[in-house]
């Protein structure tokens, strides 16, 4: 009750002195007062049901490990982690956001997992004054503030993952300049992410003199890809780009080997398939498949993976756990930096101050690289993206990650943040 009274009071008169000794809320939006014995509350909204739930569990593992590394303590008190299933739909995103913003104890929300859910969650979280930071939603529109060009960004939204615009340009440059592909076919699955990414890829591919011979789509839940692959084979593209998820991407790659007229077509997927599970599922069919996505390596990441193994007894189910880990640390550091501690041990945190601290992030040393946030919430580093080729060691010996064949640093496009 006490924090809620304080929050309401601070909403009405932002400069009112709180009941806690020596703490004054001067925040433009509102303050969250945490009593001496109360926990710091953080929330997540991730997809935890349906076919994409592995994606949410992958992020949740990263969040939990980040908190566990701090022994569950922030500002001298316990970190309380609560969550909502945002699914991979606009309805799910909106509902989860509405539920979470109704809880005034929550300092910030990590998520959503998917761009379609993020589009609906952003207005709700932003208008309520919250910080919403996603480790996985990559649609270019999410951090574009220009409504006329389809942008959906609103203050308070951040992400630690690279954008589709960056990925799409990278993929097109790699296809034209390294693979020398003249013709391109693309497949999406109707999701905001896949549609946006194939659009970004096509735009740059055409600019670079390539020709798009086929643009098609499959449905989420399809298992038989023979018909769409047969249709693509009639166009004989040099490259087939399919930024779709598991298991549809698995089915597509596995069945492409039985379409004789696709023998000379290079298959290229995106970060959704950059997981050991993709190679396990597709076996020899994965040989030669090009994937691009998070390029996370190094000693810290290996330590993270061993912590994961220790905690969950299995491999991470997706490819974005490192981003979720960085997201959590970045957020917790930002909270720590803006917290005002009263004489009685109470803590006061301004919501606008927290947003400002997130925006001011620069040179944050995460396992995905050095993070710095732009005014419209893009915090990812272009260092953590690369192009990989699946080879025999991955298929027959279980090596992971696959061979890194290209990164922006070794000849990629010059990108804005």
């Amino acid at each position: 009750m006490f924090p809620s009274i304080c929050l309401v009071a601070s909403l009405l008169v932002p400069t009112v002195a709180s009941a806690a000794e020596g703490l004054v809320c001067r925040d433009e939006i509102a303050c969250v007062m945490i009593g001496p014995d109360d926990p710091v509350t953080i929330a997540w909204m991730l997809v935890t049901s349906g076919a994409n739930s592995f994606f949410g569990e992958d992020s949740l593992g990263g969040i939990e490990i980040a908190i566990a590394q701090r022994e569950g303590i922030l500002l001298g008190r316990e970190i309380e982690l609560i969550g909502e299933d945002s699914q991979c739909t606009p309805e799910g995103g909106q509902l989860a956001a509405q539920r979470l913003v109704a809880n005034e104890h929550i300092l910030a929300i990590i998520g959503p997992s998917c761009s379609s859910a993020a589009e609906a969650a952003i207005p709700v979280a932003s208008r309520a004054g919250f910080v919403l930071v996603t480790p996985t939603a990559v649609s270019s529109t999410l951090t574009n503030p220009d409504r006329d060009s389809g942008g959906t960004w609103m203050p308070g939204f951040f992400r630690t993952i690279h954008t589709n615009a960056l990925q799409g340009r990278m993929a097109a440059r790699f296809a034209r300049e390294i693979l020398d592909a003249q013709t391109l076919a693309t497949i999406h699955d109707g999701s905001t992410f896949a549609h946006d990414l194939q659009g970004a890829m096509i735009g740059t591919f055409i600019e670079l003199g390539g020709e798009v011979v086929y643009q098609g789509a499959v449905n989420v839940g399809d298992t038989d890809m023979t018909a769409v692959l047969t249709e693509i084979a009639t166009h004989g593209p040099d490259l087939l780009f399919f930024p779709i998820f598991q298991p549809e991407g698995d089915f597509l790659v596995a069945q492409a080997q039985y379409i004789p007229d696709l023998d000379n077509t290079i298959l290229m997927g995106s970060d959704n398939l950059l997981t050991p599970g993709f190679v396990v599922a597709t076996g020899e069919a994965a040989l030669g498949v090009i994937l691009f996505g998070p390029n996370v390596a190094g000693e810290t990441y290996r330590e993270f993976l061993s912590l994961w193994q220790e905690r969950y007894g299995a491999e991470p189910p997706g490819g974005f756990h490192a981003h979720a880990f960085d997201t959590t640390n970045l957020l917790l550091d930002a909270i720590e930096s803006v917290a005002q501690v009263g004489e009685d041990g109470s803590v006061l945190i301004g919501r606008q101050a927290l947003r400002d601290a997130m925006t001011a992030t620069s040179g944050f040393d995460g396992i995905t690289g050095s993070l710095a946030c732009s005014p419209t919430g893009d915090c990812a580093t272009a260092e953590a993206i690369g192009v990989f080729r699946i080879g025999e060691p991955e298929v027959f010996e279980g090596r992971w990650p696959p061979e890194l064949v290209w990164t922006p640093a070794t000849g990629g496009p010059e990108e804005e943040a």
Binding site: N219, D224, A227, D250, F251, G277, T282
Partner: protein, 366 residues
């Protein structure tokens, strides 16, 4: 007693309709003509354009038959239960998942031990038996816990319960085995292709088709030629009379669920060997919907109808988008394969409301 036939005076937009016809009849007739015309125009355009070769059409046909075989095996479970209880067991797709998901671990251990490569047929039979056992157990528990207490409840009640049971099974298995995707191992002898002239058919597709046909024949024999099959048919016809004849209704219903579950479990393994990818707790959802459609298409309650409906749906899904929608100039035709599948369902049902092989049900049975 003399009956007087009423002469219809129905009108549509103020225009008198022929005697005995209503506006709905006219709309359905128009719908039939429009759908058939669209199919003919689309198919005609595609074939005249000649973009696809004969071999490609045949490849699509075989892929469709293989996919349809899976639908058919699952559809048998829907149709068996409907035949006996007149209820749609919407959790049946998840019974399929239960067998397939559980058995993927056994299949991978067979591969690691080398047993799958040294004795592939025996290994596959063991896997099918194990999956059938798991799915059968789930189906029987489902009947005992979720459906039997509601047997005399209004028909909507078990239907809603089935949807709830579907979620329950899905999330129970997610709790047991996690949410990640698993994959069946590939079996060496299923990797190749079978060649007839210039046509290459993947052996995996033939395997699925032949396995499904064998299982369906076994089921047909069981229902038509055995004593318990006769009891099943009697319960389907009239439960009260069957009871008076000494048939144990509860036993027959449990047996029906068990058989439907066993077929779904076997279908799970066949599906896994055919399309090894995508094994997770949600894998029964879409095949379940498609199989239900197949059962309705073939004539729900009719066993050969479910087989035919499944095959028909699989082939239409594989061939329809490229044959019809491409010819109509519709972009991303393959994303609309469900549209064409369900349009065919509508088409079949407006010509034969009882399904391809279904009988007109009496008011009591329907």
């Amino acid at each position: 007693m003399t009956q007087t036939r009423t002469v219809s005076r129905n009108k549509l937009f103020g225009i008198p309709l022929p005697a005995g016809h209503t506006g709905v009849d006219l709309i359905i007739s128009a719908l039939r003509i429009i759908i058939v015309a669209l199919i003919i125009i689309g198919a005609g355009n595609t074939l005249l354009e000649g973009r696809f070769t004969f071999e490609q059409w045949l490849a699509l046909l075989f892929a469709g038959l293989a996919q349809g075989s899976i639908y058919a095996l699952i559809a048998l479970g829907y149709t068996l239960v409907y035949g006996i209880l007149r209820m749609i067991n919407f959790a049946h797709g998840d019974v399929f998942m239960a067998g397939a998901f559980t058995t993927v671990f056994l299949a991978n251990s067979f591969r690691q031990s080398g047993f799958l490569d040294s004795q592939p047929l025996l290994a596959i039979l063991i896997l099918m038996g194990f999956a059938a056992l798991v799915s059968m157990t789930v189906a029987v528990l489902l009947e005992r816990i979720a459906y039997r207490p509601l047997r005399n409840a209004p028909r909507l009640v078990p239907l809603i319960t089935a949807i709830g049971a579907s979620f329950f099974i899905q999330y129970t298995f997610r709790g047991l085995f996690g949410s990640g995707f698993k994959a069946y191992p590939t079996v060496a002898f299923l990797r190749g292709t079978f060649s007839v002239g210039s046509i290459n058919v993947p052996i995996a597709q033939l395997f699925v088709f032949v396995s499904a046909i064998v299982l369906m024949i076994c089921l047909y024999w069981l229902v038509e030629r055995t004593r318990i099959g006769k009891a099943m048919r009697s319960v389907s016809e009239d439960k009260e009379v069957a009871t008076l004849m000494g048939v144990n209704i509860d036993l027959i219903i449990v047996f029906t669920f068990a058989i439907g579950g066993a077929l779904a479990g076997a279908a799970g393994v066949i599906n896994g060997l055919f399309r090894p990818q995508g094994v997770n707790f949600f894998m029964g959802f879409f095949p379940g919907i498609k199989a239900f459609t197949a059962a309705v298409l073939g004539g729900i309650g009719n066993i050969p109808g479910a087989m035919l409906g499944g095959m028909f749906l699989g082939v239409i899904e594989a061939i329809g988008p490229n044959l019809v929608l491409n010819g109509l100039g519709i972009p991303s035709a393959n994303q609309l394969k469900d549209v064409i599948a369900f349009t065919m369902l509508v088409l079949v049902l407006i010509f034969r409301p009882q399904g391809i092989l279904g009988e007109r049900l009496s008011a009591e049975k329907a």
